[in-house]
Amino acid sequence: MKHNWNIPFSRRKLMTGASAALATTAIYGTLGPKKAWAQSIQRGGTITLSVPGPVSDLDPHKVVSHESYPATFHIYSALTRIGSDFNAEPELAESWSTNDGGKTWIFKLFENAKFHNGRAVTAEDVKFSLERVLDEKISPRGFSSIGPIKSVSAKDRYTVEIELTTTYVDLPVDLGGIYPRIVDRETVDQIATVPNGSGPFKLASWEPTGNTVLTANKEYHINGEDGRPLPYIDSLRIVPIKEPSSEFAALQSGAIDVMLQLPFDIIPEAQNNASINVSATASGYHSISLHQKPTFSLPNDNAHLLKDIRVRQAIAHAINRPALLKLAIGGFGTVGNDQPIPPSHVYGHTGLEPRSFDIEKGKQLLAEAGVEPGTRLILHTTAGRPGLLEHGLAVREMAKAIGLDIAVDAIDISRYWTDIEYRAPMYMDNWGARQTINASIKPFYETGGGNNTAGYSDPVLDAVLNQAESEPDFSSRKALYNQAMEMISESAVTIIPYFKGYYIAMNKSVGGVSAHPMTYMWLDRAHKKA
């Protein structure tokens, strides 16, 4: 999926359901001729989607938990939508271009896009919305995630000009993410309770801590296969169910149609069930972060040892990656090589092999570092995210082979966030995919980065990452990122033994839905078959 970033994007044809499902393991095998496709899409009906927790935020610029995304994404459109191949597709912006290699961008909006109250979506609204996101106090989680924006201006009613601080080719993709959704500048005061977006669905009812119901926006500006506006269904119910086994039972009984997150334990059962379809893709990873500047250490945790690269590499060699993959997440993933980008990614480094499972090498490295057998380390983890606890316990077992006694300290997820993450010397972490290559690496490994779980600081790496961020040419960019990946893997500050798979399950009667590597879910192209 290479693109030459220097040419302007041509006016895209309206997206069909078929091309949207291309890059993932879609549930449809071959795509039939367009006519047959249009015929099989039935309009109407309600789809019930289950999520692990209730929708808690309706303001897209302030949203915290991913359970709220099905609501905010459907109510509020963004300039672009991130496809399953991580390319930007038109959503509110019909087309976009850059004439200076990616430092200044022009976005042309669809002229028939309207907010739910009837008012047209204009460039002024885009400017207002993006500036709101860039305000750290309003959007502490979003302000740094929408690209290196210097200024946004409305060139005319439907044209937006965005000037960046540096050349950055992935801007359109970042503008399709969680935060930069376009809100109505006139009704923004009531945004927390009476949302007014321009998305394919409107809010019908919201029970805080309970169900959320959305109804179709009949005036949506993007059409479906049959030439009429999306979405195909009449309404969407978002139902929070905390217990995964209850959630699955509800799917089996037909009470819910789509499960946003299928736990690893239940995947085999779902795959064997004739009335359920499972869709899969790759997304995210678990890591053991070895913090270089922890804010605290406990007696006997030998935190200083983790600053020695030989110790870190020794632990990495002690891990039997395929066994760990099977134990922690049932084998539903692929083996990793201690850096965050999977080989299947468009920027992936296929030449970088996973570190070998080599006990002798591990022992040798430890000996070189002067570490006595039986030395104790403490690994902090939590049961609050699936697989993290199992992973930690397995690492403890495996480390015994090279003579390390790793004690596992498991705590609840809330204290994990406040006391452990970014602070403890050695801890497990869990990350999903990010929409751009830059967002996937830079905040995680640059000095002072917002997601630098290992407190890592390497000026050489910082320089490489900065250069790569603003590099306009694809192959040069890829080479730079690959170099960064090699450096990260070599340092072993984050031991990433595998990449997680992401699975969803749905009733056989649901079509037009497949797993998205960002674990997002759009249901405006979903439909219920007869």
Binding site: T46, V64, P140, A192, S246, E247, W417
Partner: protein
């Protein structure tokens, strides 16, 4: 049951005072207890690691957050105020019926708590009725057939029922009847109730709730049963019972008008105490059955450090328990005037 007191002129005086005074004392006492509880709750929360702003900023490295922004967010929520100030804000709001605004949801907490409370009561009230009826009924049965095989069977069942933790019973029910057999919904909020007509709604609630209610009630039934049986057995040993039977009064009359009445006094205390257990059991059952009640609300609020919701739910639950004890005290005193005067 009221003592008539006569003044110097032989006119009855203070007939109502005795009971009203007692009532008043109990009401004031209950309110004081609730106030004390509110202070204790507020105090405990001060020890909580992390606040709502930390939850808002979770997953972001502390190095990358502007401290001024963090402080501004805390100020918005009033988290920078000293404890007594936060307490005062909360209590004065409560006095006007305002439970405050949720830190995470930005909506008033009061309506949420009460709608969730209603849902929990739908579970709790049938469970309590079940507990009283079955507990006393089986207890009387066991007492009347003391030391017989029937009594033995009842005692054995109650012994096991007390020992089985609510989560175990609930999980078993859930797995067998919801997950495997699909007789009851595995998750209540998944079912679209708006699609049902009245009859369907009623049957839905009945079939769906029967197992959670049974789960909650099981252990409490056993407690009430044992106490009723023990009191009745003791009571029946007393001389006046034998005397009444010897005088030729029918056994049924003696049992129900004298023995039962006296034996029920301690049973009322036990019932009140077990209402507290029902409240605890409701939370466990809500967790196991994913039932959207006040218990799950509290657990979620703790997880997200949403202080107004935490305090509100805990207070309401405690208030329910204080109320139950209050009612029990009043009932007890009506039935046994001697207690009133002590």
């Amino acid at each position: 049951m009221r003592t008539k007191r006569l003044d110097a002129n032989g006119l009855s005086v203070g007939v109502v005072t005795g009971f009203t005074l007692f009532l008043l004392k109990r009401v004031v006492g209950s309110i004081l207890v609730l106030v004390a509880i509110s202070m204790i709750l507020m105090g405990i929360i001060q020890f909580m690691p992390g606040d709502a702003v930390d939850m808002l900023l979770r997953g972001i490295s502390p190095d990358a957050v502007n401290p001024e922004v963090r402080e501004a967010l805390r100020r918005d929520l009033g988290l920078d105020l000293p404890v007594w100030h936060q307490y005062w804000n909360w209590i004065s709001g409560l006095a006007q019926g305002d439970f405050g605004q949720s830190y995470t949801l930005k909506v008033p907490v009061g309506p949420i708590i009460f709608s969730r409370l209603a849902s929990s009561l739908i579970l709790a009230v049938p469970a309590i009725i079940f507990m009283i009826v079955l507990g006393i009924g089986l207890g009387v049965l066991a007492a009347l057939s003391a030391n017989s095989p029937l009594d033995g069977a009842i005692q054995l069942i109650s012994l096991v029922a007390i020992a089985m933790p609510a989560f175990l019973v609930g999980s078993l029910f859930l797995y067998v009847f919801a997950v495997k057999l699909h007789w009851i919904p595995a998750a209540f909020n998944a079912v679209d109730i708006s699609l049902f007509n009245t009859w369907e709604t009623i049957t839905f609630f009945f079939t769906a709730l029967i197992f959670p209610c049974l789960t909650i009630a099981a252990e409490t039934v056993a407690h009430v049963l044992r106490q009723t049986r023990a009191s009745m057995v003791e009571e029946m040993k007393l001389n006046y019972v034998r005397a009444a039977l010897l005088r030729g009064l029918p056994q049924g009359y003696v049992i129900f008008n004298h023995v039962l009445r006296n034996a029920l006094l301690p049973a009322i205390t036990v019932i009140a105490i077990n209402v507290g257990y029902v409240l605890g059991g409701v939370i466990v059952v809500e967790f196991v059955f994913s039932y959207p009640g006040i218990g799950n609300l509290m657990l979620t609020a703790i997880l997200t450090r949403d202080i107004p919701t935490m305090l509100g739910t805990m207070l309401v639950i405690s208030a329910g328990y204080v109320l139950a004890n209050f009612v029990a005290d009043i009932l007890y005193s009506i039935l046994n005037p001697r207690i009133r005067l002590s």
